[in-house]
Symmetry: C2
Subunit: 155 residues, 2 copies
């Protein structure tokens, strides 16, 4: 069980943008993490469409958060990026679908468990997971963001 | 995000054994579900080692549950079969590990969410997900198990 790469990368982009005081570029983020620029580009396009990230062109342009880090719930990001419709192969549409699926109580149990997973992350913001932003920025060689006026309590 | 095939298969084996009043064989279970016999064999070996399934040799032998279905928590099965150590690639040991991992608050957030996921399943038993056992057995062409003396309430 693991998050998809797209969710992972979406969270990484948001964390970089929360950590740094400068506009970032896709190339710079890919280099800092040592990950694929092509994969990252698709993720950033989606983040811009979802109004989580703003992309400005030209001199002084680049990527930045479209809203404050304490207003971005991790649960919301995971809900937008993660596909949970085929959480077990046997519930998929098509050839792999289990013959007993209509009479199987497992789907409801797993749906409830997934909702508990997401509900936990709904209560945690990007600011919460970036409580150690200065060290995070230093680890990636980023210019740190100025501290928030009032730091959100860690949950 | 999805369960691994081994967890999926482990749950399927337990559900078949809960649904049928007869001893089952690996071959018969693989045929009913239309899944790989080799994969299933490894999963059944693990279920026997974990004392969830009993395997008797010879005439009248085969597989059966090692304990009653209402004493097998789905959460326990998922905890035993699912590997969550690399829930996001960036926390893996080795080359894919993110440079910022030591200063990243995401791991704690995700660990809490995974625990909420599992805690939900800890409260649900194999008997709960098999509340519709007769239809489940019929869908797979199994001989239904006799009803439990007192059916556990559906959760």
């Amino acid at each position: 069980m693991r998050l998809t790469l797209h969710t992972d990368y979406a969270l990484r982009v948001l964390m970089v943008l929360a950590a740094t005081g400068e506009r970032a570029t896709i190339g710079a983020i890919a280099d800092r993490y040592g990950i694929s620029r092509n994969h990252l580009m698709k993720v950033v396009q989606r983040l811009v469409q979802l109004d989580l990230v703003r992309s400005d062109r030209g001199r002084g342009g680049g990527l930045r958060l479209a809203r404050p880090a304490d207003e971005i719930a991790i649960g919301a990001v995971v809900r937008l990026f993660e596909e949970t419709g085929a959480f077990v192969e046997c519930f998929e549409a098509g050839a792999n679908r289990c013959r007993a699926a209509p009479a199987c109580g497992l789907r409801r149990a797993l749906a409830g468990a997934l909702e508990a997973f997401l509900a936990h992350l709904d209560r945690i913001t990007l600011a919460d997971v970036m409580a150690d932003a200065p060290h995070f920025a230093a680890a990636l060689g980023l210019t740190p963001a100025p501290p928030l006026p009032s730091a959100a309590p860690s949950r």
